[in-house]
């Protein structure tokens, strides 16, 4: 088998606690489908037949997905706080081949073969997906007045072709200067450094990386620790690492350190590639006397998406953005369900905008206009309500004469008559009085 897919759905959604306090993150409805459905759908479309889903126990009970794939749920208890790398270590016995790791909050329509082809063609250690991040335009509801700190920027260095990942650092790890090792510049004199890229958390990893993780217990998170480590490793040789580790961590035996070096995990069945490159006339760089790929064994590649949808539902603002983009995505996927569910009872069809999604069993009264909104199932919306740019979850009751703009209303909320809500976030089970503002 070539690949195994792993979806990480155990995260807590720490950056949008308003929403995730009542609903676990993988089940957050986006476009009236649970968030977990999107990465699973991506894998299904690509042709995967089995997926390993790492999640918390209660999620599976609430989950009802209709996919043809075989889902293998692995549970982590709530008490243990596991990072993504820890989770991989937890299931390492199930992993027998190269692994494709996805995060549950990824919504994208990328062609997976582009990422995977980079992995296959160059026999890479790591292949990941990134997208040019859009500028945040609007302030998220519920956060008015709070000055959001500037998001920590990522510095990503790629080579001339735009495929080879040379450098990765987060602003938080740097003091004042960006330090680039000389060995990188010696091998790749031209490097493009970009800051506006968003990491999609989609990684193709070789099996020996998982073996390395098993031995090396200090790495807890894939994104913040393992990936930068691999990127740095491309340009350091095994011996120099040993000296480096000696200096940093005292009290460890040398033997242990040697075995922690990832090079020792790379099996020598690179024989497939050995004699051929000697005779092949391809070289990935020119201008110096080195062999192709500088005979480096660790190689990291990145596919940077230019067009298309790719968002991670991490924060409230991104959640709203995702909801806005999802109707287009669902249309493109060609799903059979129409945007407006069949069982919804809408008295006035004409007032419902074309890119609004309405869930099942929702009742919508007369003279109610709904534009650019997503309404969950089993909602009751009375007459003369104006809803624009809102996300309304399941079982919400909205009485007459309300006007909602740019808001997020969670499950089971009740909004009494005449309320005028703008840019608010209303939690679950809340009740808003009449004529509230």
């Amino acid at each position: 088998m070539e690949f195994q897919a792993v979806v990480m759905a155990a995260g807590g959604g720490s950056r949008m606690t308003d929403l995730t306090s009542s609903i676990p993150k993988p089940l957050l409805p986006v476009g009236n489908r649970p968030l977990l459905w999107y990465p699973l759908n991506l894998l299904e479309r690509a042709g995967f037949e089995e997926v390993i889903v790492i999640t918390r126990k209660e999620i599976q009970k609430m989950l009802s997905l209709d996919t043809k794939m075989k889902l293998d749920f692995v549970y982590i208890s709530d008490n243990v706080d596991m990072g993504t790398a820890d989770s991989l270590r937890h299931i390492h016995q199930k992993i027998k081949t190269d692994v494709l790791v996805l995060s549950c909050d990824l919504i994208t329509d990328v062609d997976l073969y582009k990422v995977v082809d980079l992995f296959r063609t160059h026999d890479a250690t790591l292949s990941m997906l990134m997208k040019k991040a859009p500028e945040p335009t609007e302030v998220a509801p519920g956060q008015k007045g709070k000055k959001k700190p500037v998001e920590q920027r990522d510095f990503i260095g790629v080579d001339d072709t735009g495929k080879r990942l040379l450098f990765m650092a987060n602003e938080a790890d740097l003091d004042e200067e960006l330090v680039i090792k000389r060995s990188i510049l010696q091998k790749h004199p031209r490097m493009h450094i970009r800051t506006g890229l968003m990491d999609a958390h989609l990684y193709c990893l070789k099996k020996y990386v998982v073996d390395f993780l098993v031995e090396n217990r200090t790495i807890t998170s894939l994104r913040s620790e393992l990936i930068p480590h691999l990127v740095r490793k491309q340009f350091s040789s095994p011996t120099s690492l040993q000296q480096g580790l000696d200096n940093k961590e005292e009290g460890r035996k040398k033997k242990e350190q040697a075995s922690l070096d990832i090079y020792s995990f790379i099996k020598e069945d690179n024989s497939l590639l050995k004699p051929a490159p000697d005779n092949s006339c391809w070289n990935d760089h020119r201008g110096d006397m080195n062999e192709t790929l500088h005979e480096g064994k660790v190689r990291c590649y990145v596919h940077i998406m230019k067009e298309g949808l790719c968002c991670r539902v991490n924060t409230l603002a991104l959640y709203i953005e995702a909801n806005r983009q999802v109707p287009k995505l669902l249309l493109n996927l060609g799903l059979e369900e129409p945007l407006v569910h069949g069982t919804a009872q809408i008295t006035d069809r004409g007032m419902v905008g074309s890119d609004s999604i309405i869930g099942s069993s929702t009742q919508i009264g007369e003279k109610t206009s709904i534009k650019h909104s997503i309404i969950g199932s089993a909602c009751t919306i009375k007459d003369k309500v104006k809803i624009t740019n809102c996300i309304i979850m399941n079982s919400v009751t909205i009485e007459e004469g309300c006007c909602l703009q740019g808001s997020v209303i969670c499950n089971n909320a009740v909004i009494e008559k005449g309320a005028d809500i703008k840019d608010c976030l209303i939690g679950s089970d809340q009740r808003l009085e009449t004529k509230g503002k």
Binding site: M1, E2, F3, Q4, A46, G47, F48, E49, L100, D111, L112, Y113, V116, D117, R120, T121, H122, D123, S271, L272, P275, A276, P277, D278, N279, S280, C281, W282, N283, R286, M289
Partner: protein, 550 residues
């Protein structure tokens, strides 16, 4: 005045030079034609003035009818017209038409008096008798089979071995919808996706595939590939993206992947390894063919492997059989590629003298190895001129390898060869394949270099291992070639790509050829692992190889 008939590459069988010394012997073409696919022997009338006009017209009409019939019947029989093997009286062929042979046979040859006349006449009489007997036989057969009133089609006599009708391979019949449909059906059966052609092709080459590198075959496959082994998918991607380039490299990579395939293979119950493994290899070979057309070296390796697999004795257990196969593949690799390279390098650098200036073209692993070995193992001083051409610019890699070894190099583009050739002492070229008529198939541009070198009287040496010898015959570069991605020709200068919008312009077509064919008279010597042979001895080597393998 012999009337020549030359349909599709067949040789005029009757030119009497071999059988009957002296000109103008009219005998009715008992010529052994070239190998398979019987060449019709044409009644050739030798001395014009003896035949009447009506007879000549009649003869012409018959020839035309035969030609038509042949074309309708078979595909092209790609027989190499064997040079110099003309009439062999030991193998008489049937002459189809009853009327003409007697006429021409009896045409009195008063005019000439061949030396050794009596033996000639005897021979002639013998031949006539044989032909008439065979004609009678044929008529009888024809009456049995109840074929139409058309004159007898040229067929082999039953005494001769049945020949293999060579069919045109699919990859040179892209503009024939029937062939493409057959291919599509075959690929569907094997569950291999069909790669779409890209862009408008130049008319002369519309019979070849043209693929785009940006649309790999994996686009249409499921991601964890189940039908095709992952190693083969990786290999196919590396071929189509140009990462593994060069005849030897591709063949070595292919054999390594086959070793892995065999390792991962397990015989299903009720099947025999020798038959099932070949069937399992076929979809993978089709997949690789779709990624990039197979090279001659790869084709020969596959043929060898298939033969080895089908010759496995049934008594072997599965593990033993697999080990034996791995051993044979290793042997093939070692003997035909690695050791052959060593042998060629040794014999070639004997040709390099002190203070030589050697011209090389593109990147050939053999030539590079020869030059590096010559530099390290002998103490002759020589310098190298590396000629390069767009769009591949492979010469840069040659340059890097030679300079790394310490050889003094000059680098020019192919348009400068007439400027450098006056100081060149010999030209050393690599080959993708050697064809059965002695032509050399190599990277596009090689024939130019050979041509200009001939004009400057510089000797041209070609290095080629014997496993790249091929039984195909080509006299031009059009019939069987490879079209590379035309977008490679687009060059960006100062942020602008002049040819960027070529697809929108209806009257603009880009052509990116990969190979070309150098005629044998431009090549002075071929250095193989069997020694140094002239170009025209290639069919001999092929014949010897065939005998060896049987």
């Amino acid at each position: 005045m012999a009337e020549r008939e030359a349909p599709g590459g067949e040789r005029e069988p009757c030119r009497a030079s071999g059988a009957a010394p002296g000109r103008g012997v009219s005998h009715v073409a008992p010529v052994p034609g070239a190998g398979p696919g019987a060449a019709p022997s044409v009644p050739v009338v030798v001395q014009g003035p003896e035949l009447s006009r009506e007879e000549k017209l009649q003869l012409r009409k018959e020839k035309k009818q035969q030609k038509k019939k042949k074309r309708n019947e078979k595909g092209t029989a790609a027989e190499p017209p064997e040079p110099g093997t003309a009439a062999d009286p030991a193998q008489p062929r049937v002459t189809p038409h009853p009327a003409s042979p007697p006429a021409s046979a009896n045409a009195p040859n008063d005019g000439e008096k061949p030396p050794g006349g009596k033996s000639k006449a005897e021979l002639r009489a013998e031949r006539r008798a044989k032909q008439e007997a065979e004609r009678a036989q044929k008529q009888a057969k024809k009456a049995e089979l109840g074929q139409g009133a058309a004159p007898a089609k040229p067929r082999l006599t039953p005494t001769e071995a049945p020949s293999v009708v060579k069919r045109l391979p699919e990859h040179v019949q892209v503009d024939d919808p029937a062939a493409q449909r057959k291919l599509a059906k075959k690929l569907e059966r094997q569950q291999v996706p069909l790669r779409q052609d890209y862009g408008t092709k130049v008319n002369l080459f519309s019979h070849l595939h043209q693929y785009s590198r940006k649309k790999p075959l994996t686009q249409q496959m499921s991601i964890p590939s189940t039908v095709i082994h992952p190693a083969v998918v990786r290999l196919g991607l590396q071929y189509s993206q140009g990462i593994i380039n060069g005849s030897n490299a591709r063949c070595i990579a292919l054999l390594e992947v086959f070793k892995q395939l065999i390792r991962d293979y397990s015989t299903p119950p009720n099947e025999e390894l020798s038959r099932d493994l070949v069937a399992k290899l076929k979809p993978h070979i089709s997949f690789l063919n779709q990624c990039r057309p197979l090279s001659v070296s790869m084709g020969n390796a596959i043929k060898f492997l298939k033969k080895e697999i089908s010759c496995l004795p049934d008594t072997l257990r599965e593990e033993e059989a697999k080990e034996k196969l791995q051993g044979t593949i290793d042997n093939y690799l070692r003997e035909k590629i690695v050791l052959a390279a060593e042998a060629i390098s040794k014999s070639a650098f004997e040709k390099i003298n002190d203070n030589d200036v050697i011209l090389v073209y593109g990147c050939s692993s053999l030539v590079n190895r020869t030059l590096c070995d010559a530099h390290t193992q002998t103490d002759r001083t020589f310098r190298v001129i590396v000629v390069d051409s767009r769009p591949r610019l492979e010469g840069r890699e040659t340059l890097r390898r030679l300079v790394r070894h310490g050889i003094h190099c000059t680098y020019v583009m192919i348009n400068a060869i007439s400027y450098v050739l006056p100081e060149v002492s010999k030209v050393l070229l690599g080959a993708h394949a050697l064809l059965a008529n002695g032509s050399v198939m190599s990277r596009v541009g090689t024939s130019q270099i050979a041509l200009v070198s001939k004009a400057y009287n510089v000797p041209v040496l070609v290095c080629c291992e014997t496993y790249k010898f091929c039984e195909r015959v080509q006299t031009d570069s059009f019939v069987s070639n490879e079209l590379d991605d035309p977008d490679d020709l687009i060059v960006q200068r100062k942020g602008q790509a002049q040819l960027g919008g070529w697809a929108e312009n209806k009257s603009l077509r880009l052509l990116n050829l990969v190979y070309d064919v150098t005629p044998p008279d431009l090549v002075d010597l071929v250095i193989t692992d069997l020694g140094m042979i002239p170009c025209t001895s290639v069919p001999v080597v092929l014949r010897v190889k065939n005998v060896d393998q049987q």
